[in-house]
């Protein structure tokens, strides 16, 4: 009796924590009325919908979709947890619910589980062959897994079925990966003009358009695109970080650092922290850079503890700013899991930094095999070739890395130019 009581007491106290609020919202039974509503409104309404119809898997699917959108807007990863729990319930109620399967796919992709994401998306496709949304996840997974030919076929299906923001943005990325930057810009402009349900979606493609302009060196257009994105979705961190990048490219490091610092203060994702640290290094603020880059190490620990796979980004970080040996381990794992051009670039750069440039250059070639004109890919391949003693190849890669945007990176663009100058000097000495 007493033991039962004690256990029940503890259970009661645990359950009792935070089960106090029971809100109800009317007009939630009509999801169609919510088109164009803010994400918060949609979340609130779908929460009420689910409470009103707890046995209907469809409500959970809608709610999970709104939660995933919320993460895109705020970076608040606690909504991933919520989305995961809601999707679990939905799939228990109906294992073939297309919206829930699509949500599960998107969530898996967000956690960089590309195979799991592909699996869910294909199940969603089977459950609802005429719904277009799962195709986007299938394309994303195929691209990340390095299956570019399959991705191209899926993408055709998707664009034909629904030429909208989601499909145009993916066409743009596919073209960018294959080095067709003007085509990528055209497609991204179409994505912007197609518009989207949430303001964040449009701000996102506008930011991507800004990134493309930046890559081809059209800094003013780039800044304009980021500003438009910020006007569309105030405080949008990816666009703020983009603006910081433009400032850095103009050599205005103090402004750039301030902007990056602001972005990092709101959303300290590793990519913004790395950009901040590298701009500080370019500005000669080594102590501040060391301090800020240490944050990436802390985030690495947290991501590992949470089972999130960010091997490619961390491998690049470790190769440039940390332990190249560790970078090789991370990049090998990434390559084994998803042999994409991104992981090839990371592995190649890691191997070169770890003192194996010949091997590194082989992966550098793979990274560029599709025809990519990514300046970082070219920079990495150029330094690998240089270290491997292949000066001609190195010169070609490095020249191409700075050809479009002389200031593609505040830290690496000057290094590429310096390497080119040294090689030119070296040749002059030899010939002269």
């Amino acid at each position: 009796m007493a033991a039962v009581f004690a256990v029940a007491l503890v259970v009661f106290m645990l359950v009792n924590r935070g089960s106090r609020v029971h809100d109800t919202v009317s007009d939630a039974d009509n999801p169609a009325a919510l088109v164009g509503a803010s994400t918060d409104t949609r979340i609130k309404s779908f929460q009420a919908l689910v409470r009103a119809h707890p046995k209907d898997s469809r409500g959970y699917g809608l709610l999970a979709d709104a939660y995933l959108q919320k993460v895109r807007e705020t970076g608040d990863a606690s909504y991933y947890t919520r989305a995961g729990a809601v999707l679990h319930t939905a799939l228990r109620l109906n294992p073939r619910d297309p919206a829930a399967l699509t949500g599960a796919s998107t969530l898996a992709l967000a956690r960089h589980d590309f195979r799991g994401g592909l699996d869910y998306a294909e199940q969603a496709r089977m459950a609802a062959p005429y719904v277009v949304k799962p195709l986007g996840d299938i394309v994303d997974a195929q691209v990340e897994l390095g299956r570019y030919a399959e991705a191209r076929r899926t993408l055709h299906l998707m664009v034909d079925a629904q030429p909208n923001l989601a499909s145009y943005a993916r066409v743009s990325y596919w073209r960018e990966l294959h080095g067709d930057l003007p085509g990528a810009i055209r497609a991204m402009k179409l994505a912007v003009s197609a518009g989207g349900q949430a303001a964040e979606n449009v701000a996102y493609v506008q930011t991507l358009l800004g990134n493309l302009y930046f890559t081809v060196g059209r800094l003013d257009d780039s800044r304009e695109a980021y500003r438009t994105a910020l006007a569309r979705f105030p405080g949008y961190v990816p666009a703020s970080a983009g603006l910081a990048g433009v400032e850095a490219a103009h050599g205005r490091f103090s402004i750039a650092i301030r902007r990056y610092r602001d972005a990092v203060a709101r959303l300290p994702l590793p990519q913004y922290v790395v950009a901040l640290g590298e701009t500080e290094l370019a500005a000669g603020r080594r102590a501040a850079a060391r301090r800020d880059l240490a944050l990436v190490g802390a985030e690495e620990k947290l991501l590992q503890a949470n089972g999130v796979n960010t091997d490619v980004d961390l491998a690049l970080f470790e190769a440039s700013h940390g332990s190249p040996t560790r970078a090789v381990v991370l990049a090998r794992r990434a390559w084994a899991q998803a042999p994409s051009v991104r992981s090839a670039d990371a592995l190649g750069w890691a191997l070169t930094r770890a003192g194996r440039p010949a091997e590194g250059l082989r992966f550098g070639h793979r990274a560029l095999a599709l025809g990519s004109r990514d300046p970082m890919f070219l920079f990495h391949a150029g330094l690998s070739a240089s270290a491997a003693g292949r000066a001609g190849e190195a010169r070609a890669y490095l020249a191409r890395s700075v050809a479009l945007n002389r200031r593609f990176s505040p830290l690496y663009a000057p290094r590429a130019e310096r390497a080119l100058a040294e090689m030119a000097g070296g040749r002059l000495q030899v010939t002269g």
Binding site: M1, V7, A8, F12, R17, S78, V86, G235, N306
Partner: protein
């Protein structure tokens, strides 16, 4: 007894282990809560900050004083109190507390509690805007609490499902609260507060009570927690049943009443005294905890408290054990009653002793001074849950149950006289039982102590 102690020890371990897991609102989050209390001449705001791993890491290298000063500056900048349409400065009412509880991945969290106060006169409308840490994700909330001399209608809830940003609702159907504004209309009154129970829900009125821990429990009960009533009744029943287990002086009560030819009122007085003293040790621990938590952050307090309670259980067990050994070495006529009452052997020679109030209190105190380990363990579990007030309430109910049984027993003895004394409860097993139970108490104490030590180093 053994099973119960083990079960609760296991529950405690699980709870402590869980405290070192991921921040439920994400590693980037900065969560803050304002507790707002409007009285006739002052407005009190307690600002509580719970900062996750990443922002804490970004401030590494700063001393804790520097971090606290930084947070204070942010609060002074962002927290705007408007009374009767005019902005009123909020002054820092104490040094504030800062601690760095362990988070995920070997990183730390930051926890700050900052008391603020504004002097006002005749407040009619009060607005609080919390503009601290703009743009940062996390749980943002303002809760209203009843003040003194006022009758307040609040736009924000009086309930805090996070227990002061210590635990967050886990329901996937609920978003983190994002509440930065509170509007209160104030009239002179007797410390009542009318506030929504939760977002989009009806209103509930609570009243100011001296110990706001208890007030919280009652407020929760008023908010529709029928479960609480069940637990109170269960605690009462458990106390009543528990009095029948060995070692609660009931045989002594019986013997005393038999020996002194006591009457019904003596039985009642004795039962009550035993119960009061018996629970006092447990109760004192809880009260001390409540008082200390006003001055020390619970995160800093609980590890010490865990250690102290662990050691206390060890000492209690050792004392009981010593007594068992002593009583078996010096058999007295009454040892087969297996109670800890050898101070007052119920031998025939004292039967003519007078009954004085002093005697009854001394009697009851000597029987009840050793706290009941089971009651202590319930309180410890409640402390581990940061639910001290609930724990105290349950202990009170438990005591009442205990008192009822002891008194009832006394009454039976008084009326049936001499009957009880003839019941023979001797036998090897029964004789060994008290010693075994004492050993179990010592063991449980050692386990609790062993678990408390690593938290302190």
């Amino acid at each position: 007894m053994r099973a119960r102690v083990l079960l609760i020890a296991v529950a405690l371990f699980a709870l402590l282990a869980a405290s070192a897991s991921a921040h439920p609102l994400g590693n980037f989050s900065i969560n803050h809560l304002d507790r707002l209390r409007v009285s006739g001449d002052r407005v009190d705001v307690t600002y509580i900050l719970d900062q996750a791993e990443i922002p804490t890491f970004q401030e590494r290298g700063l001393s804790s004083d520097a971090v606290l000063a930084k947070k204070r500056a942010e609060v002074e900048r962002g927290l705007v109190l408007t009374v009767n349409g005019a902005r009123v400065p909020l002054a820092v009412a104490g040094p504030g507390q800062i601690s760095f509880p362990p988070g995920q991945g070997g990183l730390k969290l930051t926890r700050v509690v900052l008391p603020l106060v504004a002097r006002v006169s005749h407040p009619r409308s009060v607005q609080l805007h919390d503009g601290t840490f703009p743009g940062r994700i996390g749980w943002k909330a303002i809760v209203a609490q009843p003040g003194s001399g006022t009758d307040v209608h609040s736009s924000v809830s009086s309930g805090d499902p996070t227990s002061g940003l210590r635990s967050y609702p886990k329901s996937a159907l609920r978003s983190p609260l994002d509440e930065r504004d509170a509007t209160l209309s104030v009239k002179p009154g007797n410390g009542s507060l009318t506030a929504p129970k939760g977002p989009d829900q009806g209103e509930a009125t609570t009243h100011n009570r001296s110990g706001d821990g208890f007030a919280g429990v009652f407020a929760d009960a008023a908010a529709g927690r029928g479960v609480l009533v069940f637990f109170l009744l269960a605690a009462l029943a458990w106390g009543a049943m528990h009095a029948l287990s060995p070692g609660h002086g009931k045989t002594m009560v019986a013997a005393y009443l038999v020996g002194t030819r006591g009457r019904a009122r003596h039985a009642v007085a004795l039962g009550a005294t035993v119960t009061v003293t018996h629970t006092m040790g447990v109760f004192a621990l809880g009260v001390v905890t409540l008082l200390l938590s006003q001055w020390i952050l619970p995160e800093q307090l609980y590890p010490w408290l865990n250690l102290v309670s662990g050691l206390m259980v060890v000492v209690i067990g050792a004392a009981v054990l010593r007594k068992r050994v002593a009583s078996s070495q010096f058999p007295v006529p009454s040892h087969h009653h297996h109670g800890h009452h050898h101070h007052h052997p119920a031998d025939g020679g004292r039967r003519t002793a007078d009954i004085s109030p002093k005697g009854i209190i001394a009697m009851g105190a000597s029987a009840g001074l050793i706290p009941c380990p089971s009651a202590l363990v319930v309180l410890l579990a409640a402390i581990a849950q940061h639910q001290i007030a609930l724990g105290l309430l349950l202990i009170t109910m438990f005591s009442l149950g205990l008192a009822a049984t002891l008194t009832g027993l006394g009454l039976v003895v008084v009326y049936a006289n001499r009957l009880t004394s003839r019941i023979n409860m001797s036998g090897r097993l029964v004789a060994a039982l008290p010693a075994v139970s004492a050993l179990v108490i010592v063991g449980a104490g050692c386990v609790l102590t062993a678990h408390a030590v690593p938290q302190l180093v």
